[in-house]
């Protein structure tokens, strides 16, 4: 094996680090979209209008068996055909946002289900308005179990961003592949990308554990 | 004097800062039936678990048939017991748990057949015929093909007793064997235990809150409080005419709870 440090530091890192920024941007933007779509999906799923809740349920199930690349390619090909021209970056955000909406909806639903029925009844007995019930009783209790799930999903989303290199979104893996195709050296760029992913995943996993612990101790104080 | 079967010598057990057993001395003779009673949290279960080697002890020695259990002799000195030593010593011991702890994925018969095959090295045929005998004895002969979840609590506990007996132990240890049972099934389990105490020569150490039952079958009652034996003697003394104030108070409370 020959590993070239000068190549690593002078060519690979300077070109991959901007890709890291794109990776982070895509992750957060698409996740914000997922949260919004997921919230609507969850509301539809819980709706008392039966066709709506069934449709939402089927959609969630359907999306969970669908590979993300398929969604990415679909939008990448479809949008121009129907006259919508987006930069690959935004197509990527859209694809990942839609893709992760289903798991977000499931996590949110799980959070609401974790609030005991008695809490709704208690609020009702106390004559709370709908707004107050949600704001002061339900949401504070539903948020806690939801945070670790959403956190893990965010990490998963982060790890899925390299798939966008298939449609030339200039994230880390795309940068690495470009370097490789120009220099015919795969070792350094791909290894650097792998290590960066590893570091960031471990780092964010620790971060989530901290948030989780913080939430736990907070509720213990509350009681 | 009868043969000494079990002996606790200055046994101390701590959980962190909490001393649960405080220099406990207790001796049990061969064939003797000893029942420990006492308030919740006094360390009754802990005594049994230390004997079963489910807990390690900080200080002291437990002997079975004169041989150290939690230590072993090596070059004339006592050293911490090896796993092999523990395994050999445990062959003499059998435990019945409050929550049965049957293996839920195995049938009643398999529950009683498999452990002796693995631990004693008996053949499957041998193990099966012995298990069937024991299941008949506890009145579960017709439920051999059932799974634990299909049985009532009392039935599960009787299977658990048969499973323990299948290991051919010399000492039987019961931790509140009827506490997890519905009132109407308690009798079927106590009658099995009673017959074991009366008709067989097992040495028995039991914890129970059923004072009348303990009175019935025990040779000796130990009243436990805060990790110590406060009072011990035949049931007629400890239960019917306790001398210690703490014992009187406990028995009064138990009587009121009825």
């Amino acid at each position: 094996m020959d590993w070239r440090w000068d190549f690593t530091f002078e060519t690979v890192l300077p070109r991959i680090l901007p890709g890291l920024w794109v990776t982070v941007e895509v992750t957060f933007l698409s996740f914000a979209l997922s949260l919004v779509l997921g919230l609507f999906l969850m509301i539809a799923r819980r709706s008392t209008i039966r066709p709506l809740s069934v449709a939402a349920g089927e959609f969630i199930e359907f999306m969970r068996g669908m590979p993300l690349v398929v969604v990415i390619f679909f939008l990448f090909f479809l949008l121009p055909e129907i006259g919508i021209f987006l930069a690959p970056f935004w197509t990527g955000v859209l694809a990942m946002g839609i893709y992760n909406a289903a798991p977000v909806a499931e996590i949110l639903r799980g959070g609401l289900q974790a609030v005991p029925k008695g809490q709704w009844e208690a609020a009702h007995v106390l004559n709370y308005s709908t707004y107050r019930t949600w704001r002061q009783v339900i949401l504070p209790q539903a948020v806690k179990p939801v945070v670790p799930g959403l956190g893990n999903l965010l990490i998963l989303a982060f790890k899925e961003t390299p798939l966008l290199s298939f449609v030339a979104v200039p994230e880390m893996l795309d940068a690495a592949r470009r370097i490789a195709s120009e220099t015919y050296r795969f070792t350094e760029p791909l290894t650097v990308v792998g290590i960066l992913f590893l570091i960031l995943s471990l780092f964010s996993a620790v971060l989530i554990r901290l948030v989780e612990r913080h939430l736990l101790t907070e509720t213990r104080h509350g009681k | 004097m009868a043969n000494e079967k079990i002996r606790f010598e200055g046994v101390t057990k701590r959980f962190g800062a909490l001393t649960v057993l405080d220099k406990l001395d207790l001796s049990i003779n061969d064939g003797e039936v000893v029942t420990i009673i006492g308030p919740s949290g006094s360390g009754k279960t802990t005594v049994l678990r230390c004997l079963m080697t489910l807990e390690s002890i900080e200080d002291g020695l437990i002997r079975i048939d004169g041989e150290p259990l939690n230590k072993m002799e090596s070059e004339g000195r006592l050293v911490p017991a090896s796993n092999a030593h523990l395994r050999r010593m445990r062959l003499k011991l059998g435990m019945v748990f409050q929550s049965f702890n049957l293996f839920p994925h195995l049938t009643v018969l398999q529950n009683c057949v498999e452990p002796p095959i693995f631990a004693l090295g008996v053949t499957r045929d041998e193990a099966r015929s012995r298990a069937q005998e024991l299941l008949d004895m506890v009145g579960m002969g017709d439920k051999q093909a059932h799974y634990p979840a299909q049985l009532s609590g009392g039935q599960q506990q009787r299977v658990a007793i048969a499973r323990t007996l299948a290991m051919q132990p010399e000492i039987l240890v019961f931790d509140e064997p009827t506490s997890a049972l519905d009132p109407e099934t308690i009798e079927e389990v106590t009658s099995v235990i009673r017959s074991l105490a009366v008709k067989h020569s097992y040495t028995m150490l039991m914890v129970t809150h059923q004072i009348a039952f303990a009175h019935d079958i025990s040779d000796r009652i130990c009243f436990f409080d805060k990790g110590r034996i406060v009072e011990q003697g035949p049931p007629a003394a400890v239960i019917d005419a306790p001398t210690e104030a703490r014992t009187q108070q406990f028995l009064r409370k138990v009587a009121q709870a009825r």
Binding site: D2, P67 | F97
Partner: protein
């Protein structure tokens, strides 16, 4: 989950039939997609088996009392959970030869997909074993069960049943992961679809068929998982 798969697969087959009737162009690209499907299945099936074996080994390794075994398992799990499957695939195929180990595209795909899923599976196995009630271990101690028997006969059979739903999800994720093997030059279902799309520009039809096939594959996995769980849970009752 408890819905009958037939109730789902039959209308799907019907829909697929409708497709043939309405869009005759389907006949144009379907053979290529089916070729892709055989590649997807031939990667997925052995990967699933391999991933299960790895999950078991690494999951138990992580719980082992032997420290080096534990370390190896932890490193493996953290690395493969931390790095994207796509990056792993590229690395196995393009970088590993630099270290003197050249893998065929198929082997690289198989290894990448199963090592990736195995890391998640290991955590599932670990969680399931740890969820085993303490009483089961204590019963094994008092019954003098030798350690190997204890795991093989008592702990694992119960833990693996608990793990079935999570393992089902892991298997579906693995299935989705096979859509990335075009990275190592294999033409799987997704790659075939993309190619056909570039030839025929039948985007909606092609991707509908793709989605339908992936959905059916996932349903098969779900159904098998639910069946297995039902069979093994029959006797366990409420716990």
């Amino acid at each position: 989950m408890s819905r009958s798969p037939i109730a789902i697969l039959v209308p799907l087959a019907f829909l697929a039939g409708l497709y043939f009737a309405v869009f005759s162009s389907v006949a144009q690209f379907l053979p290529a997609l089916l070729n892709g499907l055989t590649v997807t299945v031939s990667v997925a099936v052995p990967s699933i088996l391999l991933a299960y074996a790895i999950s078991l080994l690494a999951g138990l390794g992580r719980l082992s009392s032997i420290a080096p075994l534990r370390w190896v398992s932890v490193v493996y799990i953290e690395v493969f959970r931390g790095v994207s499957l796509l990056v792993v695939l590229f690395w196995l195929y393009f970088v590993l030869p630099e270290f003197g180990l050249t893998l065929s595209a198929y082997t690289a795909a198989l290894l990448g997909v199963s090592l990736n899923a195995g890391a998640y599976g290991a955590e599932i196995v670990r969680g399931a074993v740890r969820a085993e009630p303490k009483g089961q271990y204590e019963a094994c101690v008092t019954l003098n069960m030798p350690p190997l028997r204890k795991y093989a006969r008592i702990i694992l059979p119960q833990a693996l049943v608990i793990a079935i739903p999570a393992m089902t999800n892991m298997t579906i994720e693995l299935l989705k992961g096979t859509a990335l093997v075009s990275a190592v030059t294999l033409v799987d279902l997704t790659a075939a679809g993309v190619r056909q799309n570039q030839l025929t520009y039948r985007t909606v039809e092609i991707f509908s068929v793709l989605a339908l096939i992936y959905f059916c594959l996932a349903q098969i996995v779900r159904f098998s998982g639910a069946r297995l769980e039902h069979v093994f849970n029959r006797h366990l009752g409420e716990r």
